[in-house]
């Protein structure tokens, strides 16, 4: 089984410095891309590889790049790495940045060349102190070696790269809110269209991709689209960094063929449930995805199969609900997070999420009424897709709507017994 993204990652030793990385083939893809391929070739190759964005939405990466204007007068374009990763339960990009920072930088330079951007940013989550230190060092090394800056590899191509560390708001991970944050503003999302590919950072054409997405690029350039497709085991191409947190024997991260089943991930890689704990459900891809339950254990974790099962692959990092944890408390915690992190820009999200949270808190405390379940149902529709400015509130409704479906008896028990039966 090939693991291109993590092949050179080992936490038993410091991450590769530039010369280690070069010895294992590092920056060869950059050389190939800049000297033997043109921007259009690179975009076409990435599009044909069927690399879908690993930040959660799963849109074809090459297709996204193809919307950037490549003719006409566009002296300034930007390429941005979204390394905000603030979704609870999601911690995969940390491994890639801490384990092999040059892989990300190489992927970003190739991608920037593909859209002919000359300025790039890494928008890094504030809490990732170690990643920040390692990335700063790796960026300096890349400049010193001539992979960044002026006239890269003698090709006449120029690229600057800056590391920006956030100051803590989940909404900064939303593509257009991230642009506002980089412009020094409140991170509220922007209206689309225009899409960032046309009018993004400072009004210029901009591409924003996730860390894991960029890390795949050098390997696709080196080995070709067919090789990349052959790595996937489900309906999607490539490998995926999957993760698990919660009451399992070995929580962690693993690079596996796209399309591994939930059962294999939990039982084989995470070693099964921790002693004394049983499986009740899981959010397959971070806090903003619908619960899957026992009947879904054989679902393949690729974008299409998870969607068919009623959820989203999201970031591929799973949070387990065990049989000792109160589902109402679990969902209340999630809605507390989303209510707190709503940017307040649109009314349904600003008002609806705190309302949802208050209802869940009262049910959890045994002060709920049966009518509250209808109110919650109503919120899942009113805050659902199409009713809010961005995807934060609809994402917040995914765990709630599925909890109401799969764990309704737990909500009813709280209301009928006038207490949390788990405490």
């Amino acid at each position: 089984m090939e693991t291109p993204l993590t092949r050179h990652i080992s936490f038993d030793r410091p991450p590769y410095n530039l010369s280690d990385y070069e010895k294992t083939g590092g920056y060869q893809a950059l050389r190939k891309a800049l000297t033997a391929m043109g921007p259009a070739d690179i975009t076409k190759t990435v599009q044909e590889s069927d690399l879908k964005g690993r930040g959660g939405a799963g849109f074809n990466t090459g297709m996204k790049w193809s919307f950037v204007p490549m003719t006409g007068d566009h002296p300034i374009k930007y390429l941005i790495c979204n390394a905000d990763e603030m979704e609870p339960g999601t911690f995969k990009d940390r491994m890639l940045m801490e384990g092999n920072p040059h892989q990300l930088i190489e992927g970003m330079i190739i991608s920037a060349f593909a859209i002919q951007a000359n300025i790039s940013y890494i928008f890094l989550r504030w809490a990732y102190k170690k990643a920040a230190r390692l990335l700063r060092h790796a960026i300096d090394e890349a400049y010193a070696a001539g992979y960044l800056g002026k006239n890269i590899l003698g090709t006449g191509y120029n690229l600057e790269m800056y590391l920006h560390t956030g100051v803590g708001r989940y909404i900064c991970g939303e593509e257009t809110a991230l642009l506002n944050a980089l412009e020094g503003k409140r991170a509220t999302p922007r209206t689309k269209p225009p899409f960032p590919q046309i009018s993004g950072l400072f009004g210029k054409p901009t591409i924003v991709n996730n860390v894991e997405t960029f890390c795949n690029i050098p390997h696709i350039i080196n080995n070709g689209p067919d090789w990349f497709k052959s790595l996937g085991g489900g309906s999607d191409a490539g490998t995926k960094i999957y993760g698990i947190s919660g009451r399992v024997k070995r929580p962690g991260l693993w690079e596996l063929p796209m399309g591994v089943t939930m059962r294999e991930l939990i039982e084989v890689h995470a070693g099964g449930m921790a002693n004394g704990y049983g499986f009740r459900g899981a959010l397959p891809g971070g806090a903003s995805t619908d619960f899957l339950v026992k009947e879904h254990l054989d679902v393949k974790l690729d974008f299409k199969s998870v969607a068919a099962a009623g959820s989203r692959l999201g970031t591929g990092t799973m949070i387990i609900l065990d049989d000792h944890t109160c589902p109402v408390g679990f969902v209340h915690n999630l809605e507390h997070f989303f209510a707190q992190e709503s940017c307040g820009w649109c009314t349904p999200c600003r008002e609806g999420l705190p309302w949802t949270e208050k209802i869940l808190l009262s049910i959890e405390r045994g002060e709920g009424r049966l009518e509250d379940l209808q109110l919650l149902d109503m919120h899942t529709r009113f805050l659902g897709p199409g009713n809010t400015f961005c995807a934060l509130a609809p994402g917040a409704m995914e765990p709630l709507q599925s909890a109401l479906k799969y764990f309704r008896e737990d909500f009813e028990k709280h209301i009928n017994q006038k207490k949390c039966p788990w405490r």
């Binding site: 609870p88 339960g89 999601t90 504030w126 100051v167 803590g168 020094g184 400072f202 929580p251 806090a287």
Partner: protein, 159 residues
């Protein structure tokens, strides 16, 4: 209206470096807030007015940015800021016990500072180390796989 505070020469140098990297001064707003907080521990009203003056924007506009972000402190904080992750994986793995222990030991709740100025305790939305939950961060140091037993030792390391 309080007297206008001025930025130090060091702060101005650092902020001007950020301004030089962006197309207009205002775009350095978040970096400028971070720089002043780094030097002073927090961003007072007076500091905020001084930064706004340097960026040539209104204090209200800058305040709308400053108050938007969780980690720009608009009130004084203690010498050591404890950020306790209260997100879902830490919830499942027992963050409430950790919070209870910190509350009992420090006699403060979320948003409060010990009377001796040693610790401020704040909730934090996900520290991104969900596989090693529960977790907290003190200043720039991350502590994972927390147990109540380990907390005394951790806290004793900060004065």
């Amino acid at each position: 209206m309080t007297t206008l505070e001025t930025l130090t020469a060091e702060e101005i140098t650092e902020i001007d470096h950020e301004i030089a990297l962006v197309p207009f001064r205002k775009a350095a707003a978040i970096e400028a807030l971070k720089i002043v907080q780094q030097h002073r521990g927090w961003v007072s009203d007076e500091s905020l007015r001084a930064i706004a003056g340097h960026l040539e924007i209104s204090p209200d506009e800058l305040d709308s940015v400053a108050t938007f972000y969780n980690l720009v402190f608009r009130q004084p904080v203690g010498r050591n800021v404890i950020l306790l992750c209260d997100s879902i994986s830490c919830y499942v793995m027992g963050y409430e016990k950790i919070y209870g222990y910190l509350r009992d030991r420090l006699h403060i709740g979320f948003g409060e500072t010990t009377p001796d100025g040693r610790f401020t305790l704040l909730p934090n939305a996900c520290l991104g180390t969900c596989d090693r939950a529960p977790a907290l961060m003190i200043n720039n140091e991350l502590f994972r796989d927390l147990t109540e037993a380990r907390l005394d030792e951790i806290l004793d390391g900060y004065h």
